[in-house]
Symmetry: D2
Subunit: 286 residues, 4 copies
Amino acid sequence: MADSIGLVAARSKAEATELSAEVAAWLGERGCEVVPEERLGSDGAGSVQAIVVLGGDGLMMRAANAYPDVPLLGINFGKVGFLALVERRAWREALEALVEGRYAVQEGATLAATVRRDDAVLDQGWSINDVVIRGGIRMVDVEVYIDGHYVNTYPGDGMIVATPHGSTAYCMAAGGPILTAGVRGFAIVPISCHSPIRTPFVAPEEALIEMLLANDREASLILDGRHTDELRRGDVVEVRRGVHTFRLVTLATTSFYEAFRTKFNFQIRPDAVPTRRPNQRAQRPG
Amino acid sequence: MADSIGLVAARSKAEATELSAEVAAWLGERGCEVVPEERLGSDGAGSVQAIVVLGGDGLMMRAANAYPDVPLLGINFGKVGFLALVERRAWREALEALVEGRYAVQEGATLAATVRRDDAVLDQGWSINDVVIRGGIRMVDVEVYIDGHYVNTYPGDGMIVATPHGSTAYCMAAGGPILTAGVRGFAIVPISCHSPIRTPFVAPEEALIEMLLANDREASLILDGRHTDELRRGDVVEVRRGVHTFRLVTLATTSFYEAFRTKFNFQIRPDAVPTRRPNQRAQRPG
Amino acid sequence: MADSIGLVAARSKAEATELSAEVAAWLGERGCEVVPEERLGSDGAGSVQAIVVLGGDGLMMRAANAYPDVPLLGINFGKVGFLALVERRAWREALEALVEGRYAVQEGATLAATVRRDDAVLDQGWSINDVVIRGGIRMVDVEVYIDGHYVNTYPGDGMIVATPHGSTAYCMAAGGPILTAGVRGFAIVPISCHSPIRTPFVAPEEALIEMLLANDREASLILDGRHTDELRRGDVVEVRRGVHTFRLVTLATTSFYEAFRTKFNFQIRPDAVPTRRPNQRAQRPG
Amino acid sequence: MADSIGLVAARSKAEATELSAEVAAWLGERGCEVVPEERLGSDGAGSVQAIVVLGGDGLMMRAANAYPDVPLLGINFGKVGFLALVERRAWREALEALVEGRYAVQEGATLAATVRRDDAVLDQGWSINDVVIRGGIRMVDVEVYIDGHYVNTYPGDGMIVATPHGSTAYCMAAGGPILTAGVRGFAIVPISCHSPIRTPFVAPEEALIEMLLANDREASLILDGRHTDELRRGDVVEVRRGVHTFRLVTLATTSFYEAFRTKFNFQIRPDAVPTRRPNQRAQRPG
């Protein structure tokens, strides 16, 4: 029986929509049923084997949010692309691997955020990469509690809770660590904290992380880069591991470390030749 | 039936050996069998419920190494004390809780290190906190591989792989993140890396982390602060999750975040009053 | 002949305006002519010996901007206060020292910013602390040139150029160094740069520092915390040493390092007793 | 009249000694008097216009120490080369510029270090790049005083005071800022400080910087990478601007920022094309 594969393309990028038609035809020729975005919305997402996303990490996050728990394979039309792992020119090889079952599914925790105001729930949402409180031009004070324990009060541009998949995004920019896939923990990183006292934390997946806005400055809650709520003094954003799982299709050619090195030019000495050849040892897919 | 409790005291600290006698008597009065260090060595460690350690984090690491997998309760005679969690003056309350069973055991991964030279195994060891390659006055080059994937070549003072329990030690000093207990991952942090390119990684517990000494400079392998081997160019230190588990007795009064804040003066604004009272919410032991 | 002393108080802080009357009376009793803010504006600032500012660092910056080159003595009504150095309760001692001439004037460079759009000058301004390009929720790309040499293109929350006096403000928050008074140089620090490549620069006072907004995202020019211009792609902010000098009244009791340690809780071990007594050696005013 | 030019070559590098003969001949053909190292030692250094150094930054520092105040032009035979600025293959163009007077001399401050033990002077020395206290495997505590003001007590691997020329060396590795030539200040940077409290300082050239070894651990004083003294508890290393000036020959083709970007791969996006062409604006030699 033929596989059923979802297809989502960035509408704002002409090249992505063009490739979308080509991809649909290519998959059809191989006997796959292609489920376009219009039909994924109602009930289709539940039945597809995976969704092919033509776009950048932003679209990957939106697709993950719209069609939770479904494995996603991203063809990168964005800039950096740590979720959309496949380079554009390599789409055929990637889809061949997908259709022939030569792939793995990397599972990542999601973050569930609940905003409480005066003991009532103001809003709820969840994210793949991060939950961020961010101030405007003036500094915000954010109190952080982990499992009910007070950690510190951070004055600055805000505060980030990031998953491993999100750790290469705002987390890294704010000076936080890179958590590679499979680490069971979330990074808690202040943004431009106005203090000489600075060290990022990583808390276990089971932790309850609370961020309380402790002054009267303008502040926003941002989930995966989307502005979600305006916050007020005293508002608490509770962050827990979400019920959904982020599923990312990875291929034999996918190497997180190679991608990190290339996309961020993470090469201290570009001309350094690793002593070990890549094929010298069995590798686990990274 | 009476509990059997091991007792280890820092020999170099007079106060610790003095307290040791007092503790032995106190435990005896409560019907516990006290197993002194001389008898732990042969077979005693396997039968004790826990070992009480009077000393600093250094002694805790040595006890963990000598009596693997046995829960340890440390009365702190050292400076900072993230393993030896109980302050000296609070020893009675702590031992009461131990004797009465009012405690939890926090389990942490250990690190197993294998040194390979010319494809032969040169040495093997394991540690609670960290596995470190450290150069002397001249910079060393260390290549890092994770699961066979080349990550980078780091010139500098060396390289650290740290467990969550070890993340408050050299890892933090080198600019790495604090991994709180329960995070399933190890921090990989270069020491004074001679590059503007710097970001620490956290890899999953299942990862194989390899560090290869790539130049001819003097370098040592250091496990939990103990000098273990002199390394040569081409030597590879393989680090994996160890077979042993580090077991730490935690009490209701133990809070990692409170300890971190106090011991490291991690208080951006010492006069800040947390909005939430500690008793306002149920806390998980931290 | 009597001294002439300006007086500026934060209007939004009742305590500051109250103290203002008291200070005016106190100075009058000592034979000083007090020039209130209303009269400073026209020509008065040129004739005063110094201006006493009752407020926080924000008001100090505004006073410095309104009455350039005049020595300022700040009584701190704000939070941190590195420009408003005198604590409220110590105002009498401070003013006594001022009236009796027991003070020094610390001179600091200012920054002149010119915004160029399509080769025309869009705006000009100057600042005491910093010149900042700051993005909104989405990352901005900023190219930096020093003396015409391209340095790097920084994606992230923006870019800071800071004076020594401003280095304890946003510069430090963004991970930049503290430049103490007397250093002849400006810090150039990216804000939450989305890269593992990160190192702050300090350029000499004579340098021409240019920041070019290189993408289409929303970005603002902020001088000393005041929103000054909305920027567009291609806009260049030229930063040079300004023609004005920031003059800060310092007293024998003023110690920058003491203030830094206290206000930012910069005490690695709060109970550490310095081996050297403060009076053991002659100190330069810090 | 012919110029007199000194010539110093790394003895341990065959290529450098070979090129040395070639360079001597080349200079002789152009009418220069070449003063070899044997003759520089006695009185020759005072009379030469400049010294050509064939070696790495290490040799540049030794030459600067042996022949103080004489302008140096380095042909790089080392790895990174921020003092030895000319690449090997470009030696002819560089020497042509030198002989024809098409060069500038960049002047940099040096550091004078005095070690005091029990109020007696134990040793004195000076350096181009840095004055470093460095511990062994166990942490050292270093108290820092600036102009007699206590700054902090730093536990860790040690402490660095660096000049602008030295800021790209150990200073950067320890997380300190890059001070470009012309900045009048010295960076004070702890090495792997065992604290979440961390921020580097830059003090003015006129400052007296004192580092006091405050515990009993093994520690060394290292000037420009050379081990100079073993230190004991209570020893004070006083650092001031030295009487000598470090003089570096710079050419029109020399750009610090270009060199920094290339040698350290300081390119956040290697494919980014700077909006401004290099020739679009007059450049100051960097």
